[in-house]
Subunit: 357 residues, 4 copies
Amino acid sequence: MAERIPTPTSPAPDIVRCAYLELVVTDLARSREFYVDLLGLVVTCESDTEIYLRTFDEFIHHNLVLRQGPVAAVAAFAYRVRSPEELDRAVDFYTELGCRVERRGEGFVRGVRDAVRVQDPIGFPIEYFYEVEHVERLAWAYHLHNPGALVRLDHFNQVTPDVPRAAAHMVDLGFRVTEDIEDGEGTVYAAWMRRKPTVHDTAMTGGDGPRMHHVAFATHEKHNIIAICDKMGALRISDRIERGPGRHGVSNAFYLYILDPDGHRVEIYTQDYWTGDPDNPLVTWDVHDNQRRDWWGNPVVPSWYTEASPVLDLDGTVVPLTTRTDDSEMSVTIGADGFSYTREGDVEKGFKLGNQL
Amino acid sequence: MAERIPTPTSPAPDIVRCAYLELVVTDLARSREFYVDLLGLVVTCESDTEIYLRTFDEFIHHNLVLRQGPVAAVAAFAYRVRSPEELDRAVDFYTELGCRVERRGEGFVRGVRDAVRVQDPIGFPIEYFYEVEHVERLAWAYHLHNPGALVRLDHFNQVTPDVPRAAAHMVDLGFRVTEDIEDGEGTVYAAWMRRKPTVHDTAMTGGDGPRMHHVAFATHEKHNIIAICDKMGALRISDRIERGPGRHGVSNAFYLYILDPDGHRVEIYTQDYWTGDPDNPLVTWDVHDNQRRDWWGNPVVPSWYTEASPVLDLDGTVVPLTTRTDDSEMSVTIGADGFSYTREGDVEKGFKLGNQL
Amino acid sequence: MAERIPTPTSPAPDIVRCAYLELVVTDLARSREFYVDLLGLVVTCESDTEIYLRTFDEFIHHNLVLRQGPVAAVAAFAYRVRSPEELDRAVDFYTELGCRVERRGEGFVRGVRDAVRVQDPIGFPIEYFYEVEHVERLAWAYHLHNPGALVRLDHFNQVTPDVPRAAAHMVDLGFRVTEDIEDGEGTVYAAWMRRKPTVHDTAMTGGDGPRMHHVAFATHEKHNIIAICDKMGALRISDRIERGPGRHGVSNAFYLYILDPDGHRVEIYTQDYWTGDPDNPLVTWDVHDNQRRDWWGNPVVPSWYTEASPVLDLDGTVVPLTTRTDDSEMSVTIGADGFSYTREGDVEKGFKLGNQL
Amino acid sequence: MAERIPTPTSPAPDIVRCAYLELVVTDLARSREFYVDLLGLVVTCESDTEIYLRTFDEFIHHNLVLRQGPVAAVAAFAYRVRSPEELDRAVDFYTELGCRVERRGEGFVRGVRDAVRVQDPIGFPIEYFYEVEHVERLAWAYHLHNPGALVRLDHFNQVTPDVPRAAAHMVDLGFRVTEDIEDGEGTVYAAWMRRKPTVHDTAMTGGDGPRMHHVAFATHEKHNIIAICDKMGALRISDRIERGPGRHGVSNAFYLYILDPDGHRVEIYTQDYWTGDPDNPLVTWDVHDNQRRDWWGNPVVPSWYTEASPVLDLDGTVVPLTTRTDDSEMSVTIGADGFSYTREGDVEKGFKLGNQL
């Protein structure tokens, strides 16, 4: 296991929330069909090479930037900070960690001005910004809403080989862990952490990394998520529904995972719980609890464990992967070597498909 | 393939709807937990050996009779007919077919009086009745409703080796076929048929039979079905969720399949469509269409194809099975020999779990 | 009170269901905004003077015909019959009653062929047809569905001065009464009656008539109805929401009443109950029960009682009104002379707005 | 207009969220029927004189204390602060304002320890606390959830004569204003303000005060709110539904107002929007906009404007009222002297019931 990432003496920037994702896609027109025609995200502006999209409740310029490029990858996980001054803190914090740091007064993308991008100690491209163009909040514009209306960017999910190491760094950055998945021997398989008072702004999922596991948008009700599934069936792209819909154990949210044309994974998510109290209780799940990932015990498809999106460094080059050396959640839970239970202590395997792989 | 069942010269009884199921269970107390505590069916009356249950919108005495017995099985699929005189027609119709027919003026179960039971030509125990005790329709009794409130008995589903033969007999009995699953070579894998103007009062599913595949209750909304899943998770019986929730291709309904303590399969079902016009168009699905059984392409678990409940003859003896000789839907669609497509003509297998068995 | 309408010796035509409404509108473009842009009805075909619309689950050519004309009115309430031969029965039935009857082999509107129109004994223009063009059933076409997707034509509602007289005639025509509103002195204020096994295909509402009270379309879930309200707010036409959304006492359905540009009233309706058994219990409501029209006791706006659409005779002339001489539901329930109770025997008036008019 | 309340030099306590309400009720058994049997709040503990209740997602001891007493009133609006040290700040802050301040190491109610109560400068009894007993978060305990499951305490709403004066004080206390209702002449009728990143932790509503307008609990979905209405109908207490359900203009939430046995008003609320960004845009509504209080233009019942609950001082004595001298929202919007529009500039009054009072 790698050494702990040092805690900087410089204070961390005060992060408000995950704010947008910059995503490189290889066929912008096909991606537009997915994010605009299928999911109904609102186009703030677009060009031949970029599309800026937002959710219905958003008042900042965008929650997602699609940029045409040669390799499907994540260019930036962007967080909004509480004031312009926090950018100085971000510079100092990461400089002290020896990370590459780049600040641009004019911003890295349209709509955002003064911004700092870093490649963080676990390899991810992170942006911090405060100054941003305001646009119309379309929460009341129901004549524009579709049956699966997406109303907020909810969270990111990152793949990293050493979850405790990554989580400790995120805590140094001011995040609080809300839930995690462990086993009895001390292996941590995943951890969820938040700035805003929901279950997460991002999560660390154990695996070869750095990669992006998914980006998640929130809807209001469960039927909104079902409407997206129904529409994907009608469009004969049900093979892009990877997992769900279902009820998470972790977070208690109702969820769906779908894949964009490049294989970037998108979660649609609704109804987790308030975590904003300082003593909010941590929820720890046993990795063998078959209801941890799906409260109804429905199987996690193997691709969900193995596939993820590359991330880019600040030069736009794909960051090479470090292999996870801890146990993998997939191998300890499904297949010949793994096991899961519905009731602790229960050894019966049952008929669930996950046991039959 | 067996010979066609003759069409009687006697007119068929005029059937209104599927009305109740008599089910033998091996542990009445555990079954009560499932049907009353979990699903919230209303107890009309009960004794040490029997429980009479109904749905919230029902005004006849019961939709389900649970009877303690040595072997878990179906004792009767009961249909309501339009008038007392239809019972005479039922007697003549089945007598002409050479079936065993038994009529009891006092009825076979509590709440029902004059009734006819037969073992039909495909081996199933069927009851016809008109006279029945009325009870309070609890549609307005919202103080009694639970989050997954079941409001109607919707349909039966029967397993039989030769679907066209069974379906032709049901058409003789006055049913109309609304949907079916076929392949290009003329094999029929399943057929749905109705008296009331929904997609079905019963369906014939190809397999070793006679057996009951499932009994289905209707709810009003999709969240009601999700509530049942969530509750099963909370009760740590998610391993009794067999398949779903999902959207059917066939019927367009939202569905869930769960298993009672004896393994009797129960479907929760909502929102199919009106089929009551005389020229209602038949919908035929290709057996290889991966959206036929789940519109989102989610895999059908093998047990769903292979497991079913025995049925009893009029003496209470389990009816022996006849093996299906036609292709099985499971073998032609999943595993090494089968295939399914999302888009007709598309040969890519994709990541769906069903392809990985 | 007028004499009872005689029962013809000719058998009544076998009616399957209410099938479509032909509606004269004074500004076709504005009506198109309402029915197509706002409500999302599907355009089967259209011209400069007519628009043919259907719901998502429909497979016959249309459920609503909008025809440009000088006076906003109903041109026909159209019912589908079970076979072509039923049209002969319709001719004989109404001819015996002395009604004007017109039969056209080519039909009265596009998509429908052989059809009979009559002005019935209570003054309404009624059409019967069997032959009709089939179109694609869009139940599975979720990519076309809107948040308030309308899936079926559910019922008509007619205003007539003498409800028992009209209801008796409808029973002669083969309808069954499912619910009604009465007082202790024998006055009947409204009655609901069905052919298909829902609460109604049409209702008779006491008032000066013949007029159309409303036409109702069904959605699947309550949130679909709320989505229509939200959209009307966003479009700043909330003043066209007349009443609701709410839960009916009568029918137990969830409802909304909105007004089209000509003031034709449209109901959006979901989740009544099965009525198809021959002994389905009649539900009688006390006119003073404040939950009969809205289960939550929310007030009925006076316009809902007083306003309705004229109907045309077979020459296209507005049918003159006959005044109701029985008590009006509005006057006996609200205002200085009326009263309503929440609990029978309770005399407290409470704070509800209906009491303050 | 009264003078502005001075801004203390002492820093305000860092408030996390509105946490619980202590409510005096005159008949504890009847209140239990309302809050426990009807609404399904979870009983943490209870005695002959007190009931401690919480919502399903809560992990602190309670969100509502019902205490038997002689006069129906609010005894405390309680906020949770970020650390024990904030209590010292609360003492200093209010002491500097000349308010009565009382601190009890053992707390004022069960489950809470060290707490500060004050009578704030606008007359309300406010509590601050950090130390509190943790209880089981029942978010996953779906077997306990009812169809109208309440998952969070969302906000308070207070009546005060001078809204800008009260709002300025709340801003001094660290709140941010998210929305308000004004007219063109500078009168402010109501203001919403938050600590947690929802539309509000409390609102100030113009009227004779100090009084409590309502306390609001959150549900997940709109159907949960409808289920509460349906149940109140079934229990024949629909006369305790005061207003709604409906969609708010302000907050964009779906809402319902009901009255407990003492007339304390409870709102059920779902789906407002994220307000946690430091530059979250203020939304100002015109008092004459008929969609401000109900997005569908449904009328606000007069009692909603005029009735509210008394509040107690720290000795348990009802605080006398100060009369509002600014215009009242009711008088400027409904009745002979008021007006509301659906579309700005539109003078037509329409048929809406609110115009007919």
